[in-house]
Point group: C2
Chain length 768, copies 2
């Protein structure tokens, strides 16, 4: 596979060569979405080559029966996964009755562009059919941010060397499969097909979950940019609706189809209103027309970029990469709907079932807090709050009691969806991330009210979990946490993972601190919560007993906390002494060999030090970084960003930049040869953090104070980023000699820059 075919460009992702080997990778990279729906960059016309078709609707999922080798008690029976939804983009194209299929044509002048500034995807090419006809195709597509149930396509065919017929056959197809269906089953049932003049709709529902979805289309035509009347031949099949329109062309003519489509779902409508609502949408879109939809789209993206853009001078590939990451994150999650979340592949693929991981709390919330109104991060927190009951049920399945909660490792609706005992049951540190997300939000936004209103219930349930999950070791005279998997999933079923134990202790302490705060400042909420959770006064003492006596493995010799008990029994050979041929170890080594090796998949002890940096001295950070980073293989996309930030914080810019490079163009350059399955959406937030928290050194203290400690990679001329800090828009520009701060807000903001407090006033540049 070619890893380097994307043309560098500041604002667009561009490819200029048609190569069948790249089709699936480009389908991922050129995906478009609006948070509510998304679409891989599949071709509108037929394509007989290898392709992964993907149309997705946020929040519409299917509980696929799990497939396991050996069943373990406690496993969930279903794995909720994102659904490949009815195809809305399809247009069969025929030239003089011959099908257009790029897999069997001569293709030239191919170009694809994902314009990130304005939010659209275009594709153009010349094709010479086997039958001799030559055409020029120009297609453009968008999924509207403004009309968030609408997608629109403009598709023009120019007759280059012939006169004759061009037939457009736009269709809707509900007979679609998920590629990762465990048993090759259909997840959708077609309920109703509605045929109309230049429009139509299909009502379908998901099996088991019974989400109802109407998919509608409306089409119109132009010949040489003039409206043209057409005759319709309809084909209504069991699960699909196809209309054919033939336009007679002379040599040089351009025939254009506009296809407007809409998904509406029972998440937002009554089942019996769906067809009508979908028609309303496509009618509204048709009325606006493609150009006006495009204008609305540009405006909407302009607003997004205003508070989230990062500008890098002196490195166009870095510029392209960071914008690609910010763009994809915004395509995946907009933040207006607390029922939605951020799947690891967003709307760019099916892998990992499109479900929610702890990535959201650990990586995505900082991005959304930093670039949007605080309601967005709050909606992400509410997603978990709304799933608290299911997290309590989940813990009960594993033998926990008294309202203890274990949030799922992987979920769509709050139920656990993963079946690997060492992850499902043991990677329990995720529970700590739920609480860390709240803590981080409160710190950044100072919206402490979230705690009495929602957060505290989650915190109590999590504190209860840790209290029950730890056990007293009479041998160590301490509380221990046995049988866990840390963030470093290259260790399974270990005892006393430092990160997990540290989070557990911190969760309990922070919960008790918040409880006391709420007790004094929100007595009515306190009363309500105590009643609802049946919290006894003495209960918190038993929690604190566990926190106070928590055990942390520590090496006197190395003066570092150990990743887990027994870590020093391993052979500690740095990664750089491993032969290249043996890496990545997850492809080259058997699992047992990985497990008993010292190699670390992603930050583990260092993840803890990243989360709680101010609890450790500079020397401790350095010592731990020097001990663990050389043993880290960074085989998770979530690893480099944490190391980049930590390296920057201990003034190791070359290391920080090296790590940054591993994360920034992960997908665009397809480092892991897997972008065909979809992009690494959640780790894109880590890339953003690498710049803002890493190079920019942004921190918010426990007291809520904002600070920066800017550095710049020597490879760049300058960089700037914009953050939304408590509704003040702050732009920070860093070059090799100075940092310039600019505030687009309503009041003065006090900021620490390089440990000095400065005041930034609205529209008044401050240079440091």
């Amino acid at each position: 596979m070619n890893n380097n075919y994307i043309i560098p460009n500041e604002w667009s992702v561009i490819e200029e060569v048609f190569d069948t080997d790249n089709v699936k990778a480009s389908e991922s990279l050129f995906s478009i979405g609006n948070g509510a729906m998304g679409q891989r960059a599949n071709f509108e016309e037929d394509y007989s080559g290898e392709t992964l078709q993907g149309s997705y609707i946020g929040g519409v999922y299917y509980p696929d029966k799990t497939r396991v080798g050996w069943w373990k008690n406690g496993y969930p029976e279903y794995f909720a996964k994102v659904l490949n939804a009815p195809n809305w983009i399809g247009i069969h194209i025929q030239i003089n009755r011959t099908n257009l299929d790029l897999n069997v044509c001569e293709v030239s002048n191919f170009k694809r562009e994902l314009n990130m500034k304005e939010g659209w995807l275009s594709r153009s090419f010349n094709a010479k059919l086997k039958t001799g006809e030559e055409i020029r195709v120009e297609a453009k597509r968008l999924i509207s941010l403004e009309l968030n149930e609408v997608g629109a396509i403009e598709y023009s065919v120019k007759a280059l060397n012939f006169a004759g017929e061009i037939t457009f056959s736009p269709y809707l197809d509900a007979g679609i499969l998920n590629e990762d269906s465990n048993y090759d089953e259909y997840f959708w049932e077609t309920l109703e097909l509605v045929e109309g003049k230049q429009k139509g709709a299909i009502l379908s529902k998901t099996l088991k979950t019974e989400f109802h979805v109407a998919t509608a289309m409306e089409v119109s035509f132009e010949l040489n940019t003039k409206k043209v009347p057409v005759e319709q031949i309809s084909k209504v099949e069991e699960k699909s609706l196809t209309y054919s329109y033939t336009i007679k062309v002379s040599k040089g003519d351009i025939a254009t189809i506009y296809k407007y489509a809409s998904y509406v779902s029972s998440l937002n409508y009554q089942n019996n209103e769906l067809i009508e609502a979908s028609f309303n949408n496509v009618e509204k879109a048709t009325e606006l027309g493609f150009q006006d939809l495009l204008k609305l789209q540009k405006n909407a993206w302009e607003a997004i970029w205003k508070t989230s853009d990062i500008i890098i001078e002196g490195d166009v590939k870095a510029q392209q990469a960071i914008r690609f990451n910010i763009f994809q994150l915004n395509q995946t999650y907009i933040g207006t709907d607390a029922r939605l979340n951020i799947g690891p592949k967003g709307f760019t693929g099916e892998k990992y079932g499109g479900s929610t991981y702890w990535d959201t709390e650990a990586y995505c919330i900082p991005f959304y807090m930093g670039t949007k109104d605080s309601n967005v991060a709050k909606n992400l927190l509410l997603y978990r709050y709304n799933q608290l009951d299911k997290a309590i049920e989940n813990a009960e399945k594993l033998g926990f009691k008294n309202g203890a909660a274990l949030f799922p490792m992987v979920t769509m609706n709050g139920e656990e969806c993963h079946n690997e005992w060492e992850i499902t049951f043991e990677e329990i540190h995720r529970n700590g991330a739920m609480l860390y997300g709240i803590y981080n939000y409160v710190k950044y936004t100072q919206d402490f009210e979230y705690v009495p209103k929602y957060g505290l219930e989650v915190m109590i349930a999590i504190a209860r979990f840790w209290h029950q999950r730890a056990n007293f070791s009479s041998d160590k005279n301490k509380y221990v946490i046995l049988g866990v998997t840390g963030p470093n999933e290259y260790e399974n079923n270990i005892n006393n993972n430092f990160y997990t134990n540290y989070l557990a202790k911190w969760c309990i302490e922070y919960t008790v601190e918040c409880l006391n705060n709420v007790k004094h400042n929100y007595p009515e909420d306190f009363k309500r919560i105590v009643e609802k959770t049946n919290l006894k006064g003495e209960e918190t003492y038993s929690w604190l007993e566990v926190a106070d006596k928590m055990y942390f493995p520590f090496s006197d010799k190395h003066q570092v906390y150990l990743q887990q008990d027994g870590f020093l029994d391993k052979e500690l050979i740095p990664v750089n002494e491993l032969p290249k041929s043996e890496r990545p170890i997850n492809q080259k080594w058997s699992w047992d060999r990985i497990l008993r090796s010292c190699y670390i998949k992603q930050a583990d002890v260092l993840q803890g030090m990243f989360f709680f940096e101010d609890k450790f001295s500079r020397e401790e950070l350095e010592r731990h970084f020097d001990f663990y980073e050389p043993l880290t293989v960074h085989e998770s996309s979530l690893s480099p960003c944490v190391h980049a930030i930590l390296a920057a914080s201990i003034d190791r810019m070359p290391k920080a930049y090296e790590q940054y490079l591993r994360t920034a163009r992960l997908d665009l350059d397809d480092y892991n040869h897997e972008v065909d399955e979809g992009c690494h959406i959640t780790s894109m937030a880590g890339t953003w953090m690498s710049i803002v928290q890493g190079f920019g050194g942004m921190r918010v203290s426990d007291e809520g104070k904002l600070s920066f400690n800017p550095q710049i990679p020597k490879e760049w001329k300058s960089y700037s980023f914009t953050i939304n800090f408590r509704n003040q828009i702050l732009k920070i520009k860093v070059n090799h000699s100075e940092t310039v701060l600019e505030l687009d807000g309503t009041m003065d903001v006090q900021i620490q820059v390089n440990n000095k407090t400065i005041t930034v006033s609205p529209y008044n540049l401050v240079t440091v």
Copy 2:
């Protein structure tokens, strides 16, 4: 499910009530086999109720595609499993054209008997059809030990209240499925159907493995015990052959069909000879007739019992149970074919794929050594020797080098067939059992020649494995073995499992000892082996370095070896303080809870002390037994026997008897509610050991000396057992006052009884 419907009887397994709920359990319990083929006790006639059809041919397997949740590097792609073979027993029975089906009849006077003394299965019942006809059926079945490719059925129907027609439709059906097929695929392809007069055959082959099997039948008929001519109506379908014969009967008449069938396979014939060979077999059987086959069968079983029977006086259920175990073991494995082995379910079910586990070396070899000629145990050792190359390949897949071997956890043909990383890759102690099997064999038989001829190559490969698998811990200044699963599978991915480390050290030391012996006494073999294995002189020093510096976790406080590092961090609450409602924990607890608990599935540290009892003092054995047994839940069928033997060896007969009871009637009383899936064949060898090594206290010292230390449970009057010790047949009878020894052999044998040496001469009773 009714757990107690088997009627106690000294020599037979009997059921006297027809209960559809018991049908599948009885199908397992009443299974018959001859080591080469086996058959669940499915009914000959149609049965529309729940049933697990099972006909099996030893050594004929299919590599089913594995099913895993999440793939790990190193997993095998196929799981070789025992095949449900073409149905040879089927006979549709029609009474006046109405089908006989016990699921829809009134059934009375039902009786089933598995006669273990003579090796046959009978079934009789009265049935009243919905159409009013009443019949009496008497059926008998055997799988011949003498003609080991032949099964025979006698099936009589008496017309109790009507005159009319009885139609027998014997058939062969190759269109059969395995219930545990991972993807509901057919494993067999039908190649040829041969129709004949009262006989027929089907040639089929297994997909992928291409085992060719011919299944033949020949039938004959009697009316009131007189031969009767019949007319045949043949139905030849795609995968089956059915002949119908109608006999006119008057009230009181008895119509009988004899069906002789044969399996012959490409394991023993050329493909083009198979049909003929199968016909030869059924012709020979027909010629002999059912009664003569029965006589041959009785004689063959008499010979088996002569060297293997255990007689218990004063407890008929115990008597029935021990004979059932000895009987099933002999039905499963006869020992004449080194290509075969002993699946955990034998020929009684499909579960565990019919494959070979370490059970063979740890439990079955002692049984076969004790009750048969030494060639039988030798064949079991040769099975592994013949698979050494595949074990080396298997280790290479996991990164091992230089001819190190890892024998598979589960196998049919030497390739690993299990896909659970914590077992497949980590339950490596099985490698030690391979070597222990050789050691045990040499000790018992004094056939040291096996070592230079075959064993040493296996031993070198295993020593190399342990040498590479251990690593030096600079923290402990010892060699450690990280990331293993011990015999106690309720712990996964642990470090320094005492049993594994102990076996590893012992394997190396015993291998070096044998190498030195072979070097001096078999110099030509030594030369050949050194060349073949490319063994360097200094290599053994590096092995011994690992053995010498092997680390064993030990508790100073408890003065016991610890099952693994960190074991004392667990909460040590004895099993008897667990609420009954929480057991068995493998059904009541989630897997993570089991893992972090202290509960032990089966002997682990104690398995080591059982294997190497003479390396530990009496006080050590007691201390470890007292520490670990109370934490043991015995949720493996292989657990109680080891504890029974150890308890007896430290003079705790009540405990020994309690443990014995848990193993003896495991299947007959269906303790685990799973006998419908098949019997626990390998643990039956453990039951035999519980009596012979446990109560009888039989041991063979490293120097090859035989000793007994007999005790008797107070619940029994007496017991006796017979062993084959170096071709001398020794019978030991124990009651509460004395032990009587009797020798059926050719020379005096010196034996220690209760630490006193006595001499037993042929045919001369010695009373102690």
